[in-house]
């Protein structure tokens, strides 16, 4: 395996909740290799979303160290932090919450190209058309407002925006959980195609073990702010060792063929 793209070491984060201190992250360490998908799986409140948000600096940690492409992510400021943000992107469950609903598709894609200086102004319309094409959307959608397009189309726009800055790692926080199953399969296939073509790594946050089984190379199972089990996806699911892993496998909905 090549040198890790991302190394998170001893991450810790405590919240005060109803007068008690709760460890959202308790000494959490993991690595992501270039082009790899690591899934963080766990019940509500297990800390998986806190870990994801810490990577993109939406949550400040109490302690720990994050190296991304060899740089100390938590020490970066200003222009160097912006430069890293281009290479470390995030897609959320509900893209409506991440976007101004009245912004057009073109505007949403123009922003990262402009802010990160990815392509000169004159070439941006062409770059936007290419981004739409790469996520399987018609360039005709450009002028539409985000509230006018379907949920599946919006999530494709969110992915197009994330890949606009040529990232090495995308954090996907329940990014397919709100989609209809017929759309979900298409979006997952798109993510895998982009990964193969550009060697993008994903940190895939999900509570759905079936989806994780389909797309992740490795799984880290979290509970109560700790990683309780980690391993190759197929092996962890076939033979979970932790109590939480066993509970997640038992609880995954299964098609029942006979009544």
């Amino acid at each position: 395996m090549s040198a890790p793209l991302l190394t998170a070491t001893n991450l810790s984060k405590r919240f005060d909740s109803r007068g008690r201190t709760v460890a959202a992250l308790d000494d959490v360490s993991f690595e992501v290799a270039p082009g790899e998908t690591l899934a963080l799986v766990g019940p509500s409140g297990s800390g998986k979303t806190t870990a994801a948000r810490a990577l993109v600096r939406l949550t400040e940690l109490d302690g720990g160290d994050i190296r991304f492409e060899g740089e100390d992510l938590l020490a970066l400021r200003g222009a160097r932090l912006r430069a890293v943000r281009a290479r470390l992107q995030m897609v959320f469950q509900d893209p409506r919450a991440a976007f101004n609903p009245r912004a057009t598709v073109a505007r949403v894609l123009d922003d990262p190209l402009r802010i990160h200086g990815i392509v000169p102004r004159r070439e941006r319309p062409e770059a936007i058309a290419q981004l739409l094409q790469r996520v399987g959307l018609s360039p005709d959608l450009e002028a539409r407002a985000l509230h006018e397009i379907s949920g599946g189309q919006r999530q494709r726009v969110a992915i197009a925006r994330a890949i606009a800055t040529r990232p090495r790692l995308i954090v996907l926080d329940e990014a397919v959980s709100a989609l209809d199953v017929s759309v979900r399969g298409q979006i997952l296939q798109l993510l895998l195609d982009l990964q193969r073509a550009q060697n993008i790594a994903y940190l895939f946050i999900s509570h759905d073990l079936g989806v994780v089984r389909a797309v992740a190379h490795r799984i880290a199972i979290m509970d109560h702010g700790r990683i309780v089990e980690t391993g190759r996806a197929a092996e962890v699911i076939a033979n979970p060792q932790s109590d939480t892993g066993q509970a997640l496998v038992a609880a995954a909905p299964k098609l029942r063929h006979s009544t």
Binding site: R18, G35, E36, T37, G42, P43, S44, G45, G151, D180, V181, S182, R184, G185, L188, Q189, L192, H207, D208, L209, G210, V211, R213, A214, V215, H217, R232, A233, A234, I237, A247, L248, V249, A250, A251, A252, P253, K254, L255, R256, H257, S258, T259
Partner: protein, 264 residues
């Protein structure tokens, strides 16, 4: 098995901006006493509109054709007494300034004609039935002090407080993680069996539906595509759309999309 609910040629349209959007078209099915029927569909299938229509909760401006009959009752059903409703987000059905005990007791009082003392005792009993720990202190808790799973248990207790013949669960477990979801599904299964309640389990998840329901009805674009025994719908679906939903299901036995397996 007697017929508890008969939906015949139901059509629903929503009017707005001078146009009408047809949300349900020509939907017919029957639900027997104690039967558990899952309503499966994607966005825009009309499944939530169906639930609202059965509960009599459609907006007054909606056009409704066809009929919804309750043969055992021989009258219009009273919401809360003859049918209980559990929504995806239980917070929407709670009054945030009332205690859990007050909310549930109010249902029992209004529909069963109990005094407050009896209604409170019934609320405590119901909190035990939905397997909440320490029901007597839970009576005094407020909704915001509970976890999502606990709130959904309280919503179920409230929905069954007046011993309704039908429980409607509309995406009642969709906002919960899979472990809590499995617990709530098991709870609903046990309660409906114990009380002889019929169940309408509305979901986008066909696997989850197959675990709880005797029968599954598949909806798409406002139409009933296919209805049958759960085992038949899952094992021998007739319609292409049902097959595509089954193919899109990602279970633990679904092969990895990463090719080749184990190469990475």
């Amino acid at each position: 098995m007697s017929v508890r609910l008969a939906v015949e040629k139901l059509g629903v349209g929503y009017r707005g901006d001078g146009r009408e959007t047809e949300v349900l078209k020509d939907v017919s099915f029957e639900l027997g006493a104690g039967e558990r029927l899952a309503i499966i569909g994607e966005s825009g299938s009309g499944k939530s509109t169906l639930a609202l229509a059965i509960a009599g909760l459609l907006p007054a401006t909606a056009r409704v054709d066809g009929s919804i009959r309750w043969p055992e009752l021989g009258r219009l059903p009273a919401n809360g007494r003859d049918l209980g409703f559990v929504f995806q987000d239980p917070s929407s059905s709670f009054n945030p300034v009332l205690t859990i005990g007050e909310q549930i007791a109010e249902v029992a009082r209004a529909h069963l004609g109990l005094g407050w003392r009896q209604a409170y005792a019934r609320a405590e009993m119901l909190l035990g039935r939905v397997r909440l720990p320490d029901p007597s202190s839970m009576l005094k808790a407020f909704p915001h002090q509970l976890s999502g799973g606990q709130r959904q248990r309280v919503a179920i207790a409230e929905a069954i407080a007046a011993r309704p013949g039908l429980l409607i669960a509309d995406e009642a477990t969709s906002a919960l993680d899979t472990i809590v979801q499995a617990e709530i599904v098991r709870l609903i299964e046990e309660l409906t069996a114990e009380d002889g309640m019929s169940l309408l389990f509305i979901s986008h998840d066909i696997a989850l539906a197959s675990q709880i329901a005797d029968h599954i009805a598949v909806f798409r674009n406002g139409r009933l595509v296919e209805i049958g025994k759960a085992g038949q719908i899952v094992g021998a679906p007739r319609e292409a759309y049902t097959k595509s939903l089954l193919a899109a299901h990602m279970g633990l036995d679904t092969p990895s999309l990463l090719a080749p397996e184990g190469a990475a």
